[in-house]
Structure formats: structure tokens, C-alpha cells
């Protein structure tokens, strides 16, 4: 990947005895819309904080927009919506955006236009002159999204951008994120709402215990599916047949084969039947990011790619 937007190489972050990142390597190309996934405590927010320089790595190295991690100059080209989104409650929405436009070093001549555009994008034009203290959580999150989009930054980091939004708001966010990608921005969407990620991201990176456990285009990650088959009358032969198709596990009458593409499931069933087995049920697992995510987290670390 030439000139990536983000490049992390073996980044380690420890907070006292707790290891938040255990040698994370990650590359995100320019113009990509990447979903950063993982269970609570996987290291997603820490990764974003390191990219922004809000925290310093204990080990490893990285570059953001061609500059070292935490570089101040690079931060003028980054938009950020924190997970803990709070803005000055005593300011008006327009004033919050004007403050960030000034801090982001947007030229004076284009600040007003940038603020108006941001308000319009997140649907807050009507409430622009209301104080943030009167905003609902969802509206504050919209405002935070506006702050992150202000001045069309090259890199946009969104940490749980839909956590406070209703379904309508989530649809809006999807459209906003896609529009940002379409104008060439790199977007990192950090979320544990997998369906959100599934709907908008080109690529996903799944973190677990501070490491990448899966990464790639969405269809490739999801395609690493499997199947559960309830079969009787085969004993050990069934396991041997299953093992020929992929990593297999036996749980009573159920045989699970992982990393099996959906197109090969009929072949597996045919092999069981040909060997004299009686097939009572077939449950393709995966097929969705959520199923794959759960599978990956359940795998012992030695089985991971």
C-alpha cells in the first residue's frame, strides 16, 4: 500500500499492568472506509487515541497522513468524534463549530461556509443558535459528527458515531459517512454495532485483546463461513469427512466445519450421505459479519489467521 493514510507497525500500549494493544499492525489506504471492530476492551478506542496523539505508544511505531503518530500538523487534517462526545453546554451549536473551525486552522474567509456546511450535513441548521445544554444526546452526537466533518478533513475518525442515535439518525450517519468517502476522505468507523459497519464499510479490521484477528474486504472476512450439520450413523468417519473440508469440531451429533464457503456445503452433505450417514439438519453459520465476528472471538488464538 503506497502512501497509506494510517500505518501502524507492532504498536504496543500498556496502562500500568494492563496491555491495551499487544503489537497491533494496521494499514489503511487513502480513501478507504474501514470498520474497526472488536468486543469491549479490544483496543479500538486506544488505537484511535494513539492515531490522534491523545495517548503515546509504549512500543512500535506508526505514521498518520505521512507524519509520525501524534504530529500536530497532521491533526489539522483529521476530524474526530470521540466516544465520550461532550461539547461546551454553554455554547450554541454554531459557536462550537466556529471554535473548532478556528482550532482546526480553517482559513478565516472560509470558516463561516465550513460551519454552515457542517450544520447542514448533520441536520442541525434549524438548531444552530440553540445552546448545546438543551440538546438531546442524539443531537449532541450529530453536533460531534459535524465537528468531525468540519472543513472536509482528509482523515475522519468516528468512535461509536451512532451510539446515541435512533434508526433514522443511523441512516443519516450512513449517508454522511458514504458521502465523506465519496469525496475522497479516509474514514475509520469504530463500532460494536456490526450491522452499521456491514452496511457502509469497504473493509473491516477485527481487534481482540489488542491484536488484529481478522482484516480484509468485508466479503472476504464474512465469506470465511462454516456450517453445522447434525448427522448420525457415522461415528469417527463423520469427523474424518468433515476434516477433509476444513477445521472440524464434534459436539454430540453436531459436526461443525469452519472456513467453508457456502458453495461447498452441498458437497459436504453429499459426502456424509455417501458414507452412509443420515443428515438431520444443516445450519450454515456466518453469512453475516456478526456471525463471523462471534466465530472469530470464540476461536483459540492459535487457529487465527
Amino acid at each position: 500500500m503506497s502512501n497509506p493514510a494510517i500505518e501502524l507497525d507492532g504498536v504496543v500500549k500498556r496502562y500500568g499492568r494492563t496491555t491495551a494493544l499487544a503489537g497491533l499492525s494496521l494499514a489503511v489506504g487513502r480513501g478507504e472506509l474501514v470498520g474497526l471492530l472488536g468486543p469491549n476492551g479490544a483496543g479500538k478506542t486506544t488505537t484511535i487515541k494513539l492515531i490522534l496523539g491523545l495517548a503515546r505508544p509504549t512500543g512500535g511505531s506508526g505514521r498518520v497522513l505521512g507524519a509520525p503518530l501524534g504530529d500536530r500538523g497532521a491533526r489539522s487534517r483529521i476530524g474526530y468524534l470521540p466516544e465520550l462526545f461532550r461539547y461546551q453546554p454553554w455554547l450554541h451549536a454554531r459557536e462550537v463549530l466556529a471554535l473548532h473551525a478556528e482550532l482546526a486552522r480553517i482559513p478565516v474567509a472560509s470558516r463561516r461556509r465550513a460551519v454552515d456546511e457542517a450544520l447542514d450535513r448533520v441536520g442541525l441548521t434549524e438548531r444552530a443558535d440553540d445552546r448545546v445544554s438543551g440538546f438531546s444526546k442524539g443531537m449532541q452526537q450529530r453536533l460531534g459528527l459535524g465537528v468531525a466533518l468540519l472543513g472536509d478533513p482528509e482523515l475522519i475518525l468516528l468512535d461509536e458515531p451512532t451510539s446515541a442515535l435512533d434508526p433514522l439518525g443511523r441512516t443519516d450517519v450512513r449517508a454522511i459517512v458514504r458521502a465523506a468517502r465519496d469525496r475522497g476522505a479516509t474514514v475509520i468507523l469504530n463500532s460494536h454495532l456490526l450491522t452499521e459497519v456491514e452496511r457502509v464499510c469497504d473493509r473491516v479490521v477485527i481487534l481482540h485483546q489488542g491484536r488484529t484477528i481478522a482484516a480484509g474486504p468485508l466479503d472476504e472476512v464474512v465469506a470465511a463461513d462454516g456450517v453445522r450439520v447434525r448427522v448420525t450413523g457415522l461415528d469417527d468417519t463423520g469427523r474424518a469427512i468433515a476434516a477433509a473440508f476444513g477445521p472440524a469440531e464434534v459436539d454430540g451429533e453436531w459436526l461443525t466445519v469452519r472456513a467453508l464457503s457456502p458453495g461447498r456445503i452441498p458437497d459436504l452433505v453429499a459426502a456424509f450421505v455417501a458414507a452412509g450417514g443420515r443428515v438431520h439438519g444443516v445450519e450454515p453459520s456466518g453469512g453475516s459479519l456478526e456471525a463471523r465476528f462471534i466465530e472469530l472471538l470464540a476461536e483459540p488464538s492459535s487457529d487465527r489467521p
Partner: protein
């Protein structure tokens, strides 16, 4: 830095801190004026001499200044402690610190904005109280600008301490430490005076060292000196030159210049240390 300082002043105005301070100034100056007017009128009716009345008024004014210095110190602590700490606790700081500015700009900008409000309060309230006292009693202290400058300096020391602690510790803890430090500093100042009057050199040097460690009490001496009529200084020098030093409401001389320079340097060092730590802190 200027953006953050401006934001801080705006916050203190919007959160009605400035308006509350203005209202408190009007109320307290009104009470001072009324109290002194009653004191002077009743004393004159009772046949007290003008000289005695003037000395009495000067001492009341010093006591009022002491109370005001305490109120000012509390105000500085209440403004300084959450200036950085509360934004970190609430999360407001994250979006700001992700922008291309140094953390030192945030810390010093917060200090500048808060300092502007605290100094404006000290100057407006202090000078107005002195002017009202002069109007109703006819007594004007020898150097009101000097007294008010030291009053503001004392508040700035407290503001610096609480703001610095607030970037390291939770806001409530920072405020509590600063207030206790202010009280201990004043007590140490009193101890230094008593130790000096009694010739206890060892205790005197410890107490004196604490004045340099937290210069608020040393600056308070400058406030008294600016309010003390020269006549009182002369009488005191003639009657009990040693023992009078033990009085915490008496100062024969202003704080020495090296101490004033140290007080400014102390604020710079404390802010510098807080900045150094804040720059390296993981958020």
C-alpha cells in the same frame, strides 16, 4: 492560546460567574460603606477624636481586606480547579486536544482567561471598597493600588496552584488541597511573625521557608502595607518594635523585591511543571 483564553472568559460570563462576582462586589461594597458610615458617625457622636477614628477605620479596612483576600482565594480556587480538570473528566477536552494545538496552549490559555477574571474582580472590588471607605469616613489608605496589586497577586498564586493541580488530580481534590495550602500558608506566616518576635530562630526559619514554598501569605503582607497608615507604623515602631511583628494584620514594610520576583517565578514554575506533566499524560 488566545482562543482558549477567550473561550474561558466567555465560559465564566455565560455560566454567570462574572455576574455573580459583580453582584457580590456591589453587595459587599454597599455593606462596607454602610458599616463604616455607622462606625464613624457613632464614634463622632461619642466624642472620639479624628485621629483615633482614622486609625480605627484603617484597621477595619485591613480586616475587611483580609476577609476579601480569603473570598478571593476561594474564588480563584473555584475557578482554577475545574478549568482543565473538569473538561478532562467530562470529555469536553478530547475534541479540543485532538486539534492541532499544544496541550500547553490549553493550560496556559485557561490560566490567562481565568486570571483576567480573577484580577478584574480583585481590582474592581478592592478599589471600589477603598473608594467607598474614603468617601464615608474621610480616610484613604496610603497606597491603594499597591494593596490591590498584592491582593490580585495572592489570588493569582491560588489560581495557579489549583489550575496546575486540576490538570493532575480530580478537580475537587485540587480545590481542597489549594484551600488547605492557603490556610496553612497563612498560619505559617503568623508563626514566622511570632517566632521572630520571640527570637525562636529555628521555628522562624521553617515558617519563613513555607512562605517561599507558597507565597500567598508573603503577598498578603504587601496588602497590609498598602493599607496601613504611616502613623500606625510609627507608633508601633516606637512602642513595641519586636512584638508588633507577631501581629498578622500589621506590616512595617512591603515584601522585599526578591520575594515579589520569586512569587512571579513561582507561578511560572508551577505552570511549567503542570504543562510538562500534562503534555505527557495519556488521555
Amino acid at each position: 492560546m488566545i482562543v482558549i483564553a477567550r473561550l474561558t472568559v466567555k465560559e465564566l460570563v455565560r455560566r454567570r460567574v462574572v455576574w455573580v462576582l459583580a453582584a457580590l462586589t456591589i453587595v459587599s461594597v454597599g455593606l462596607v460603606g454602610w458599616g463604616l458610615d455607622r462606625l464613624v458617625t457613632l464614634a463622632r457622636e461619642g466624642g472620639s477624636g479624628e485621629l483615633a477614628i482614622r486609625i480605627g477605620v484603617s484597621q477595619v479596612l485591613i480586616l475587611i481586606a483580609f476577609m476579601f483576600s480569603f473570598v478571593l482565594a476561594m474564588t480563584a480556587a473555584f475557578i482554577g480547579a475545574p478549568a482543565v480538570g473538569a473538561d478532562l473528566e467530562s470529555g469536553v477536552a478530547y475534541a479540543i486536544l485532538a486539534r492541532p494545538l499544544r496541550r500547553s496552549e490549553v493550560l496556559i490559555g485557561r490560566w490567562l482567561g481565568s486570571a483576567l477574571v480573577v484580577v478584574a474582580y480583585a481590582v474592581a472590588s478592592g478599589l471600589l471598597a477603598i473608594a467607598v471607605a474614603a468617601f464615608v469616613s474621610g480616610y484613604g489608605p496610603p497606597d491603594p493600588p499597591l494593596a490591590v496589586a498584592f491582593l490580585a497577586g495572592q489570588a493569582l498564586v491560588l489560581l495557579t496552584l489549583t489550575l496546575a493541580l486540576g490538570s493532575v488530580l480530580p478537580s475537587i481534590a485540587a480545590g481542597a488541597i489549594a484551600v488547605v495550602g492557603f490556610g496553612l500558608g497563612w498560619m505559617a506566616g503568623v508563626m514566622a511573625g511570632v517566632a521572630s518576635a520571640l527570637g525562636v530562630a529555628a521555628l522562624g526559619s521553617v515558617a519563613e521557608a513555607s512562605r517561599w514554598l507558597l507565597p500567598s501569605d508573603g503577598l498578603w503582607r504587601g496588602v497590609i502595607y498598602g493599607l496601613e497608615p504611616p502613623l500606625v507604623v510609627l507608633i508601633a515602631a516606637g512602642r513595641a518594635p519586636g512584638l508588633i511583628d507577631a501581629n498578622p494584620f500589621y506590616a512595617a514594610s512591603p515584601p522585599p523585591l526578591p520575594f515579589v520576583v520569586w512569587s512571579v517565578l513561582w507561578m511560572a514554575l508551577v505552570l511549567g511543571a503542570a504543562t510538562w506533566w500534562f503534555e505527557r499524560r495519556d488521555l
